[in-house]
């Protein structure tokens, strides 16, 4: 791959890619990460003598592709914040990052999405019931089965199950489902982080007995 021969510019170009890959991390932490990596690259390159283009390329090669480096920072940061905040949106965002990594993450994300959708629907229905009384939990009559939370066309048939009890039941079910989904998501995140810890922070982390890291 052809690279700029100016070592300083080559380092800056690498660090720009690092910076742009650190999405979701607070700006002061990004500045700190970039500063630390710059020091590492320069010092490692200079350890062989002068800051030559070849030495810089070696240092960058040893550090790895920018997207590989940033993904480690981002996933850990996002998951740590999700675990710390307990807010559904932050939790879901953390799970989304996990979903982009593997099938397990995708399945957990899907389950959480469904959980939050059900919880929010019940909650909204309960909140809107006083303003739109036709909102309810509708069930179809014997010949046509359906179950709808909301409004149905007047000529569709069926009857409403909960009446005004939808308000307390919807609040309880909605809040409960959101709470349960958040607990499930946090439990999954904790397990995910424990697994990463056991696996030594991910793929291609360390080796021994040979002089080449994997």
């Amino acid at each position: 791959m052809p690279h700029s021969q100016d070592p300083e510019r080559r380092i800056e170009s690498y660090l720009i890619q690092i910076r742009s890959g650190l999405k979701g991390i607070p700006e002061d932490q990004i500045a700190d990460i970039v500063r630390e990596l710059r020091t590492h690259i320069v010092e490692r390159a200079e350890s062989s003598g002068t800051l030559s283009p070849a030495a810089v390329e070696d240092a960058l090669l040893a550090l790895g592709r920018p997207d590989q480096v940033t993904s480690l920072y981002v996933i850990d940061n996002v998951m740590a914040r999700a675990q710390g905040s307990r807010m559904p949106w932050t939790v879901l965002r953390g799970i989304f990052f996990w979903a982009t990594m593997n099938l397990t993450g995708f399945l957990v994300f899907l389950m959480c999405l469904i959980g939050y959708a059900i919880g929010t629907s019940f909650f909204l229905a309960a909140l809107l019931k006083p303003f739109v009384p036709s909102i309810g939990l509708w069930i179809g009559d014997r010949d046509r089965f359906f179950l709808v939370l909301g409004q149905i066309y007047p000529n569709r048939g069926g009857h409403e199950l909960l009446g005004w009890t939808l308000v307390p039941i919807g609040c309880a079910l909605g809040g409960g489902t959101i709470l349960l989904t958040t607990h499930f998501a946090l439990w999954c995140i904790r397990k995910f982080r424990e697994q990463r810890r056991l696996r030594g922070f991910g793929k291609g982390t360390a080796s021994a007995g040979s002089r080449q890291s994997v």
């Binding site: 700190d32 990460i33 500063r35 630390e36 990596l37 020091t39 590492h40 320069v42 010092e43 490692r44 040893a62 550090l63 790895g64 592709r65 590989q68 480096v69 480690l72 920072y73 850990d76 940061n77 740590a80 810890r197 056991l198 696996r199 030594g200 922070f201 991910g202 291609g204 982390t205 360390a206 080796s207 021994a208 007995g209 040979s210 002089r211 080449q212 890291s213 994997v214």
Partner: protein, 124 residues
């Protein structure tokens, strides 16, 4: 392992990599036991003292995580000549974690060594 089937050797090598990955956190905490070090020094300490070679792009996110967990603290130190360096040191929680992990490791490896002694003796 002289005369070992390449497939078995490959499988053993993969196992060794997994085993060492699991020890990374303990190795970093142990490397910092003697005092503060910066990233490149940590890499070199692990390489020379434990033969544990970490991918360079991995060590910094790992240090960042340990810092976020309160096991490490960091500070920028302006060097008299050269570049400012970010030094890491163990926090009291980090020291307690290092001791706890080291004790578990020592107990486990001692008990396993007893079992492995026969395997190694008979294979020679």
């Amino acid at each position: 392992m002289r005369g070992t089937d390449p497939q078995i050797q490959d499988s053993a090598d993969k196992w060794a990599v997994q085993l060492r990955k699991g020890c990374l956190e303990l190795a970093i905490l142990a490397a910092l036991w003697g005092g503060k070090l910066y990233g490149l020094e940590i890499l070199r300490t692990l390489e020379t003292d434990s033969d544990l070679i970490i991918s360079e792009g991995t060590v910094y996110p790992l240090l960042s995580r340990l810092k976020n967990e309160g096991l490490l603290a960091s500070e920028w130190v302006e060097a008299e000549a050269g570049h400012p360096r970010k030094y890491y040191r163990l926090t009291p929680a980090g020291r307690r974690q290092a001791v706890a992990m080291a004790r578990i490791w020592a107990r486990f490896s001692a008990s396993l060594n007893g079992l492995l002694g026969r395997v190694l003796q008979e294979s020679e």
